[in-house]
Every structure is written in C-alpha cells, then in structure tokens.
C-alpha cells in the first residue's frame, strides 16, 4: 500500500498525458489536436518535475548571505530535470506556433480545419486527378488508333 501511495503522483502524469493523447486521436478539429498535443507534452513535464522532488526539499536556489557567501538550506530539489523541462517547454511552444501557422494556411486553402473534411477533399482531389488521367489516356488511345487507321 505504501508503494502505491509512493508512486501515485506518477500516475496523474499518465492520466494527463492520456487525456492529451485521446484528444490528439479522437478530435477531428485541428486546433483541438494542437491543444491536445500541448496537454500531452505537459504530462511528460509533470513526470520530469515529479522526478526532481525530494522529501523535505526546497527550491534549488541558494540563499545569499553577506559577502557573496551562501547558506545551505536543507536538501534541495534536483535541478537537472528542471533544466531539461525548461528546454522542453520552449520546444513545445515552438511546435505549437508552427502547428498554428500550418492550421491557418490549411484554413486558407481548404476553408475548413476539420480533419475528416480535409481528408474527404484530398480524396476528391485524388479521384479528380485520376479520372482526368483516364480521360486523357482514353483520348490518347483513340488518337493513336485514328492515326494508325490513317496510316493504313
């Protein structure tokens, strides 16, 4: 039982991550997907920061007392995951910005930001191309046949 109490904090990060992942998969709206991706990443951040916690710890910032000397104030939380997550947060906001730029472009070009509608439009494009190709092919074949007959 103590084990569960000891690690339940890690489970909440899993929960947050999975809420995000569910959003990414289940929501057809692209903005929702981008936001959900952010949630997903925050879950990971929570994991890293939980990793840094130490019993009875305090912020890993030494207090300066006079003449630049520093006072030790009991165990400090681990600064390493903090540093890593600072980097990761920056990365996640960059990804969000690029995703939003892409979404705006998609809205401009497709007129919608629902993934299923876009998918349908892409399929329609493909079908149109295919049919156009078939028509051109048929016309070419007919032309060749005509030319052949002409030569004969």
């Amino acid at each position: 039982m103590t084990d569960v109490l000891g690690i339940y904090n890690y489970w909440i990060y899993v929960l947050l991550m999975m809420i995000g992942l569910y959003g990414v998969i289940a929501k057809p709206n692209l903005i929702k997907q981008a936001i959900a991706l952010g949630l997903f990443q925050t879950g990971i951040f929570l994991y890293y920061i939980s990793m840094a916690v130490i019993d009875g710890g305090t912020a890993p910032i030494w207090t300066t007392i006079e003449h630049g000397a520093q006072k030790f104030q009991g165990p400090y939380d681990n600064p390493l995951p903090h540093v890593l997550i600072l980097t990761a947060i920056v990365v996640s906001v960059s990804v969000l910005a690029v995703a939003l730029a892409l979404i705006i472009n998609i809205k401009r070009q497709y007129g919608t930001i629902e993934a299923d509608e876009i998918e349908a439009m892409d399929l329609a494009d493909k079908a149109r191309d295919y049919v156009r190709g078939q028509v051109v092919d048929a016309a070419d074949d007919a032309e060749t046949k005509l030319e052949g007959r002409h030569h004969v």
Partner: protein, 503 residues
C-alpha cells in the same frame, strides 16, 4: 591557440548553426543559395577531416567535452567510425542537394523568402548533424526537435504547388511530436533508474544493474524509445506520415529528406539499441530482433507492392524509401557483423541512390511541371541524362551487380544466412528486389517505350545545375558499387565496434 583539428566535432554542428542564421542576411537573388552551398561545403570538408581523424585515432573514437565539463556532468560529443560515416553521408548529400536546389527552389518557392528558406534548410542540416554527433541522450531530443521543426516548415513550403503539402506537414508534425515525446519519456524513465544522461554512462549503469532485464521501468523505457524511434525513422507500420510528406514537399526538400532525415532516425536507433541498452539487452534478453525484422520484412513487401501501384513518381519513390528502410532495419536486427555492416553501408548507398532519384524526379518536375507516369512518357528521348540517372538509381534499388545496392544486399544476405533462423530475411530481400524491378520497369516503360505527349513533347534536358549534382550522386552510387573498399571497410569497422559493446 585555436586548432581546427581539436575542435572538429563541434565545428561540424556550429558552422551550419551560425551559417544558417547568417543566411537571413544574404538578401535576395542567388545570395542565400550561394551562402548555403558554401556552408554545407565547408561542413562537408570538416566531416571529411573528422573521418580521417577518427580513422587515425588509436581508440577509433574521438570525444569532445563541451564547455570542458567532464562528460558525466556536461554534454559530450563522441565520434566513432559509425558517426563519422553517417556524418560524412549526411553532409555530403546535403552539400550536393544544396548545389542542386537553386533552380528548383527558384521555381517552387516565392522569391522574397529565399533567405528564410535557405536558413531553415541549413538549420535542418545542422540539426541532423547534431543528432549524429552527440553522445548525450537529452541533447538528442533537443536536436531532434530542431531537425523536425525545420523539416515541417520545409515540407509545408510545397503549399504553393499542392495544398496537400500543408496537411502532410501537419500530420507529420503531430505524429512526429508524439514520437519525440515518447523518446523524451523513454529518456526520462532511463534517467530515473540511472541518474545520468550521458549515453555511455547510462550504459554502464544499466550493465551494473544485475536485473535490468526484469526492471519494469527499463522495459517500458525500451518499448517507448522503440516506438518513438520507429515513428521518426518511418519504420513500417509507423510510416504513415512519410509518403505524403515526401510527395508534396518541394522537390529539393524531398531529395534532402529522403537522403538524410530517416537515415539519422536509423542512426538514433543504432545508438539507443547498441550503445545505451547494449546488444545483450536489446537482442538477447529482449526480442527486439524479432519485432524489428518482422516489421522490416512486412514493410519491404507491403510498400514494394504499394510502390508498384503508384502513378506519381515522387510517391513511388517515397514508398520505395520506406521499403529500403526495411532493409536497413532488417540488417541491424540480425545483430551480427555482416548484417550490421550491410545496414550501415546501405544507409550510405540508399542516401546516394535515392537522393539522385529524387533529384531526377525534381528535374522532371522543373521541366514538365508534374511528375506522374503520364508526364514522363517518352522523356527517355527528351531528357536523356535525367532519365538515365533515374534508371541507374533504380537499378541500384534493385541491387543490380556493379551498383552500390548490390554491395549492401550482398552483406545483408550473408548476414541473414549466418544468423540462426533468419533465412526468411534473405528471402524477403530477394523478393523485395523483384518488387523493385517491377516499379523501376514501370518508369522505364513509360520513359523509353512510349511516345511523348502534351507538354512533355516539347521539353528539353534539365539545366546543368540540376543534372550535374544528380550525376554526382548517381556516379557515386556506381563508383561505390564497383569499388566498395572504402564503404565496406568503414561499415565493417562500425559494425564491429557496435557489436563489441563499447563504441
């Protein structure tokens, strides 16, 4: 004071970083392109020097501690035969691709943002090189994100030709970010049990752990890293983002990506499986070889069949890339010297061949405006050099003797026959070659045995600035097919050091 020789590992990354940023200032016209070419050229030179240095060093390994912090605390750059070879490949292909890019980019990207475009381009190269050179697990994640972000932007620049570039890019962004997050999570789990981020240090700690194989945290870390890496290197069935991305990206970008991006993904897999976890953990205790070779073999067959059914040349090449990646993965999954060597040498060979073929597709795109099978009818006569390059590249994919592809397949088959119960891999390699014959033949048939029509009837050969780089790569693929001493030796050396445990 300052010696180039002592700082080579870091120069390889910082030169394109600083150069990439300065690209913004290069104004309009040809300035940005020339600058980008210069930078990638310099980087290529440095990677060549680095290769020489690695080969000359006694330990076969060069370590560079950034900021002079001891490697266990700071960040370390660690170059061995494998890195050096991949670095050389990536830098070389990027240099040639940059040479090639000028005309194609001029046509496909709006003129007023060429400086930004090339800045992103050079930064993408910087990120890819950075992943390859680093020996720190978290540094991999950061550089992975640089290369991914730049690649998303580069792919999306195809939007002016086909709007699907945007959806392709966004889909890649979402899948790629999820994959990168899995990698981050895997690194976090490893850090939890080992308390360090340096790859070698993690490895030592895992080895010291008597029961790592049964440690649930390590197992989950392994699984998530595998999935994340699979997404990044587009291993079947996690390849869903790749075909669209390569099809709709600007031609030059497709050439760059196909030759470098997934290769670096494979390299990461090498590092994580062999250096961090170690052969004993990954392939003896864990069934990674079964999972990976099953994925790879299915991938080779499925994407081969799919490629045969494609009508768009770039999409065909994209599917073929997923299949070729299968060979690379199947090779190192064998975990014996020949298999791994085949895998390493195929990274190089495939980069060269596929780069050249995408360039050919780009040249067709440049002249004809599209690149489906209908558009290339009769181009064998109108664009002889381009089509010949394409066909020679295709022969390489098939594994025709005297091409580079033959060398890698030779190693692979040898490795597969040496490994116990792995002969199906050899069979799949052969079937895959037949499929490659099929899709290459479709192109040959259209280009040489059909009459040109429509706009294809009037086109002329692509400009020299496109044909020359294309032929450099295709020529390299022929050269290294005939004389494989260099590539073969290096990859054998890389394979031995990987399998020998310590890199």
């Amino acid at each position: 004071m300052f010696e180039i020789e002592a700082n080579l590992p870091v120069l390889v990354v910082t030169v394109p970083l600083i150069g990439g940023i300065l690209t913004i200032l290069m104004g309009r016209g040809k300035g940005p392109w020339a600058w980008a070419t210069l930078i990638t050229g310099v980087v290529f030179y440095f990677t060549w020097r680095l290769m020489q240095a690695v080969l000359a060093s006694k330990t076969g390994m060069i370590s560079y501690e950034l900021g002079n912090w001891p490697r266990q605390w700071g960040i370390e750059y660690r170059v061995d035969a494998l890195n050096a070879f991949i670095l050389l490949t990536v830098a070389g292909v990027s240099f040639v691709t940059t040479l090639y890019a000028q005309k194609s980019v001029e046509k496909e990207i709006p003129q007023d943002r060429h400086n930004f475009f090339y800045a992103v381009w050079v930064l993408a190269v910087c990120g890819l090189l950075g992943i390859t050179v680093t020996g720190d697990a978290f540094n991999v994640y950061v550089l992975l994100e640089i290369s991914s972000l730049t690649v998303y932007a580069l792919i999306a620049m195809g939007k002016d030709i086909n709007r699907q570039a945007l959806t392709a890019s966004l889909r890649y962004l979402i899948l790629g970010s999820v994959g990168a997050s899995f990698i981050l999570l895997g690194i976090g789990y490893l850090m939890m049990v080992t308390g360090t981020l340096n790859m070698q240090d993690i490895h030592d700690r895992l080895v010291a752990m008597p029961d790592a194989v049964h440690n649930r945290t390590v197992l989950v870390a392994f699984a998530f890293l595998l999935v994340g890496l699979g997404m990044k290197m587009a291993l079947f069935p996690l390849h869903m983002w790749l075909p669209r991305a390569y099809t709709f990206a600007p031609s030059a970008v497709s050439a760059l990506l196909s030759a470098t991006a997934t290769k670096v993904g494979v390299y990461m897999a090498f590092r994580f499986l062999f250096t961090i976890f170690g052969v004993g953990f990954s392939f003896v205790a864990m069934p990674a070889h079964i999972v990976l070779s099953a994925c790879a073999c299915t991938g080779i067959l499925v994407t081969g069949v799919t490629a045969v059914r494609q009508t768009n040349l770039k999409r065909l090449l994209a599917y073929s890339s997923v299949g070729q990646l299968g060979y690379i993965v199947a090779g190192f999954a064998l975990a014996n010297v020949h298999g791994v060597a085949g895998s390493v040498v195929h990274i190089f060979n495939h980069a060269v061949m596929k780069g050249g073929m995408f360039m050919a597709a780009g040249a067709i795109m440049y002249r004809v405006g599209r690149c489906d099978l209908r558009a290339i009818r009769g181009l064998g006569k109108r664009m002889p050099l381009t089509m010949a390059a394409f066909v020679l590249g295709g022969l390489g994919l098939v594994g025709f003797p005297l091409t580079a592809g033959f060398i890698s397949k030779w190693y692979l088959v040898q490795g597969a026959l040496q490994a116990p119960h792995m002969w199906p891999v050899a069979a799949v390699v052969l079937v895959g070659s037949l499929l490659a014959v099929a899709y290459t033949w479709r192109v040959v048939e259209a280009a040489y045995f059909q009459e040109p029509e429509g706009e294809s009837a009037t086109v002329t050969e692509a400009p020299l600035s496109m044909v020359a780089p294309m032929w450099i790569l295709i020529g390299a693929s022929i050269y290294f097919g005939i004389n494989a001493t260099f590539t073969g030796e290096i990859s054998m050396r890389a394979a031995k050091s990987l399998l020998g445990g310590a890199p």
